[in-house]
């Protein structure tokens, strides 16, 4: 009886206190015809040793190669301390801090997290996390729709935004009658400014700006922000938090000349690069920050600092009237459980790296990607697709279809060569999105170059 502490004597005593004759009696309010028999497809139990063996074997099957895949999930070094502390029982096995006095650890940490995220993004307020980057974007759009009184329920999304984010956005806002307008990319891999200019003022609620965008290219965020504002729309930035250590934060985008002050309205993104292992795609966390004015439109938990009966400072969940457990059908979102443990990791991660550490990670990734791009483009037939610099991703074009090349790289050279763009962006041809982070050495880059040269030569 794994995880059951009861002895036979306990059970007998307890049933007798209850006045029940057996376990079955405890279920006597359930219509007997509904009771199920044995669960035939659930295998018999394994001991921890047996399941460990099984899982070690499964893990071993997935031994990864040298990976140059990014596309929204990035391999960064995570200090050992991060998860050794994060998995302490007191963080790992606690619930949402409803009883503030018994949860000051989690609450203070969340307050620190909110402070770090507002500093990184240049905004005023942060919540305590959303599920992931894509769902955070959807919540940001819904938030903008709520905030934008005279909204047209129309959101403008560039094609340079991560295709999976676009899919998630659609799935999550579809039921709310919000139209999604897609802006094309220009030849530099940037959002086409002309297409945005062509939209009528007042015809859309908000503009989404990814920075860097899915291609790793820097958008002209100032112009985009100004343009959107001039048309009466709100601006939502989708950013990589590590990049914010070196890039001008969304809170400072735009010239402010079109009114509404400098900076965007809402910032969101995926917190994965801040201490979450790749882990097959999750758990990560979405972050969401905004201007002060929108704090009551925020979804999710928010922690505030207050005082106790003795006037001593302490932390507590606040502005709960926005949330489902109070406001129910009128809540800002249905979100309840969030990604707290990942935020714990991120907060420790950011404390250990500091602004300078994050900036160095960003810098190493930026320069590594540039280097790899240059190296791969030495191979005949391989070319860079966009002239502009990439953040830690860049797009190259191969002389052959991408899929078989990637398969050969993986099987023969242990190289996971990147993300095949041809399905999502057929217009780019045999395009491949490659990614380098600070985890890659010059020898790794050379290994990739040599492997790609070999594979292309063999196929040619």
């Amino acid at each position: 009886m794994p995880f059951i502490p009861h002895t036979e004597t306990d059970v007998a005593q307890m049933l007798s206190t209850i006045g029940a004759s057996s376990f079955d009696a405890l279920f006597d309010e359930i219509p007997p015809e509904l009771r199920c028999g044995e669960l035939k497809h659930v295998p018999p139990r394994l001991t921890e040793m047996e399941v460990a063996r099984l899982m070690h074997g499964r893990a071993h099957q997935d031994r990864h190669g040298l990976s140059f895949i990014g596309a929204g999930a990035y391999e960064h070094h995570i200090p050992a301390a991060v998860w050794e502390i994060t998995t302490r029982g007191e963080y790992y096995s606690a619930y949402t801090p409803y009883q503030a006095e018994a949860s000051q650890g989690t609450l203070q940490l969340l307050y620190e997290y909110q402070s770090m995220m507002t500093a990184l993004t240049g905004m005023d307020v942060s919540n305590a996390s959303m599920y992931d980057g894509a769902s955070a974007l959807a919540e940001a759009v819904l938030m903008a729709e709520r905030a934008h009184a005279d909204g047209k329920r129309r959101v403008v999304v560039p094609r340079t935004l991560h295709p999976l984010y676009r899919k998630v956005l659609f799935a999550l806002i579809d039921a709310q009658n919000i139209e999604i307008v897609e802006l094309p990319a220009d030849a530099d891999g940037r959002t086409d400014i002309a297409a945005l200019s062509a939209l009528d003022a007042g015809s859309f609620t908000c503009l989404v700006i990814p920075q860097p965008n899915f291609f790793g290219v820097f958008e002209d965020v100032d112009t985009l922000t100004d343009l959107a504002r001039s048309k009466g729309a709100m601006v939502i930035a989708v950013v990589n938090p590590v990049s914010l250590a070196v890039l001008r934060p969304p809170g400072e985008w735009g010239s402010g000349t079109s009114g509404g002050g400098i900076g965007v309205d809402i910032v969101c993104g995926d917190g994965q690069p801040l201490g979450a292992p790749l882990s097959s795609g999750g758990p990560y966390f979405g972050f969401l920050t905004a201007r002060q004015a929108f704090v009551r439109q925020m979804p999710g938990r928010i922690v505030g600092r207050t005082v106790d009966l003795d006037g001593k400072p302490g932390f507590t969940l606040t502005l709960q009237a926005r949330e489902q457990h109070i406001r129910r059908s009128k809540a800002t979102s249905n979100i309840c459980t969030n990604q707290g443990l990942l935020v714990t990791a991120a907060t420790i991660h950011m404390s250990l790296l500091g602004a300078e550490g994050l900036a160095r990670v960003a810098s190493a990734s930026l320069n590594g990607t540039a280097e790899l791009t240059a190296m791969l483009c030495e191979i005949p037939g391989v070319e860079r697709v966009f002239a502009s610099p990439g953040f830690h991703e860049a797009v190259i074009r191969l002389p052959q279809p991408v899929a078989p090349v990637l398969a050969a790289l993986a099987s023969a050279h242990g190289v996971l060569g990147g993300f095949d763009l041809s399905a999502d962006y057929p217009e780019l041809g045999h395009a491949l999105l490659i990614c380098v982070t600070e985890t890659k050495t010059p020898a790794d880059l050379r290994h990739y170059r040599d492997a790609l040269a070999t594979v292309l030569a063999a196929a040619a």
Partner: protein, 486 residues
């Protein structure tokens, strides 16, 4: 002793040097205009400072690993450590979500197996693991209900029925799906008011969201009748699986007539709550909703596992997360399910129910009032302090705060909304009898304290890092980020 903010331990130029790349910043590739001018105001601390700070903060938390935590509706049971260790094997942590199938068979096998187990446990025809928490599972479920009606060209259905006892996420989800949430009252025994339900259903009914056992801690006995009423009206039945722990291996939502269900794997399958999350809200569906499941799902071709996506499920409600949800949480749930095994599932419900009924019986014997005294407890039950409130001004909050001093986390308070001054108590199957007895002793002692000196109880807690906090001030004088004194 209080712990300063990490920012207050910061000094310019300090760092955890081993943690950052050795090479200094080289940012010439970034256009000047895009570069950040001033570094963000992040803490600058040493490795020891960070480790000590966050280790110390952790000590200011209650948790399963340290305290009994009978938080109703939350299933705070033991989170086996092996689940964590095995989900964090280096290969699993390093696997990129977009890694090729050739490098993913181990992970996909786990996901496939988990889908199969959950199908069996819920009695549903298909399972998708992708929703990232219960609320997103609800979203997926209601989205499938919507997709189903739409696929049949039935666009008149604009309402989702929700019992008044329902969790807040239910009506909130209905709204997010563009539906109007319509409340159905509860009868005196804690069941759905059947007449009210009959009156409410109609061609506008898209479906009903039910928890069974409900958040009132009782099993809805007329579930088959309810299913009949809603189905006859053309609506579908949604099962909020937050309380699945109560019936695991005993009765299956599929057999009760539900069309779609979400599970809170972070409750029933014991993945950690992590101080707020992550969770995992897998959804299960009956045959007719199969085409609408959220993607990705794991399929099996012979010995080979692969993702099923838009191409396989063109009618899918789509993608709810960038990749495939909280994969690492799902791995933990899988390990847990394998360690429980077939019989273990059944025992979870048995012992969770035993513990709840035992606590209920003991508290009743001590003079506490039950919200539904005529009913069996499911895995949880409700005590109402209405009488204590009237007689002594002893509130649910007072008891909750004072319990902390006794070394127990408080039960859920003031939920469900329809029971005044309620304590929703869920002990879970992993607690031993001695702990439950001590908990009873504590409640009895607090009640006695209140009779002697209510002011003292209202001053609680006394042994926590802080005393009772001023929530009103927190909302009025909003201080939600650190701003260095200027």
């Amino acid at each position: 002793m209080s712990e300063p903010l990490i920012f207050e331990r910061s000094s310019p130029g300090r760092a955890a040097h081993a943690q950052r790349p050795a090479a200094a910043q080289q940012l010439s590739a970034i256009p000047e205009s895009l570069r950040r001018k001033a570094a963000p105001a992040m803490p600058e601390v040493s490795e020891l400072q960070a480790v000590r700070h966050y280790t110390r903060l952790s000590k200011r938390n209650f948790s399963i690993d340290t305290h009994f935590y009978p938080l109703g509706s939350c299933t705070m049971k033991y989170n086996p450590r092996a689940c964590n260790t095995l989900a964090m094997l280096p290969e699993f942590l390093q696997r990129h979500p977009l890694a090729p199938m050739s490098h993913s068979q181990g992970f996909l096998a786990c996901m496939y197996d988990l889908q199969e187990i959950l199908k069996d446990v819920t009695g549903m025809a298909g399972v998708s693991l992708t929703p990232m928490a219960g609320a997103q599972g609800e979203f997926a479920g209601v989205a499938m209900i919507r997709a189903y009606h739409r696929a049949r060209g039935d666009s008149a259905r604009t309402e989702i029925l929700v019992p008044d006892a329902a969790h807040g996420t239910n009506p909130a989800t209905a709204t997010m799906m563009g539906y109007t949430a319509r409340e159905i009252p509860t009868d005196a025994e804690g069941d759905v008011d059947i007449e009210a339900l009959r009156a409410a259903v109609g061609p506008q009914t898209a479906g009903i969201m039910l928890t069974n056992p409900s958040t009132l801690g009782v099993f809805e006995r007329r579930i088959k009748q309810i299913a009949g009423i809603v189905h006859d009206a053309g609506g579908l039945l949604y099962y909020d699986g937050a309380n699945l722990n109560a019936i695991l291996g005993q009765v299956r939502p599929g057999d009760m007539g539900f069309d779609v269900i979400h599970m809170n794997l972070h409750k029933t399958f014991s993945t950690p709550h992590g101080g707020g999350g992550p969770g995992a809200g897998a959804v299960g569906v009956s045959q007719r909703l199969l085409p609408f499941m959220p993607i990705p799902i794991v399929g099996k071709d012979g010995d080979h596992f692969r993702w099923l996506d838009e191409a396989d499920l063109p009618q899918s409600i789509g993608r709810l997360s960038t990749f495939m949800g909280n994969a690492g949480v799902l791995l933990r749930a899988y390990v847990y399910a394998r360690m429980l095994g077939r019989d273990g599932m059944r025992r979870v419900a048995e012992y969770a129910t035993l513990n709840a009924n035992y606590l209920q019986a003991r508290l009743r014997a001590q003079g506490f009032d039950l919200a539904f005294p005529g009913r069996r407890a499911s895995h949880e039950f409700i005590v109402t302090l209405k009488r204590q409130k009237q007689q002594l001004d002893l509130t649910a909050t007072d008891i909750a705060k004072r319990l902390l001093d006794y070394g127990f986390h408080a039960p859920t308070v003031y939920f469900p909304l329809l029971v005044p001054e309620c304590l929703l108590i869920e002990p879970t199957e992993t607690e031993d009898k001695a702990t439950l007895d001590l908990f009873v002793d504590a409640l009895v002692a607090i009640w006695a304290e209140a009779k002697r000196d209510i002011a003292y109880v209202k001053g609680a807690p006394y042994t926590m890092p802080v005393r009772r906090l001023d929530d009103v001030r927190a909302a009025r004088q909003l201080d939600i980020r650190y701003q260095p004194a200027r």
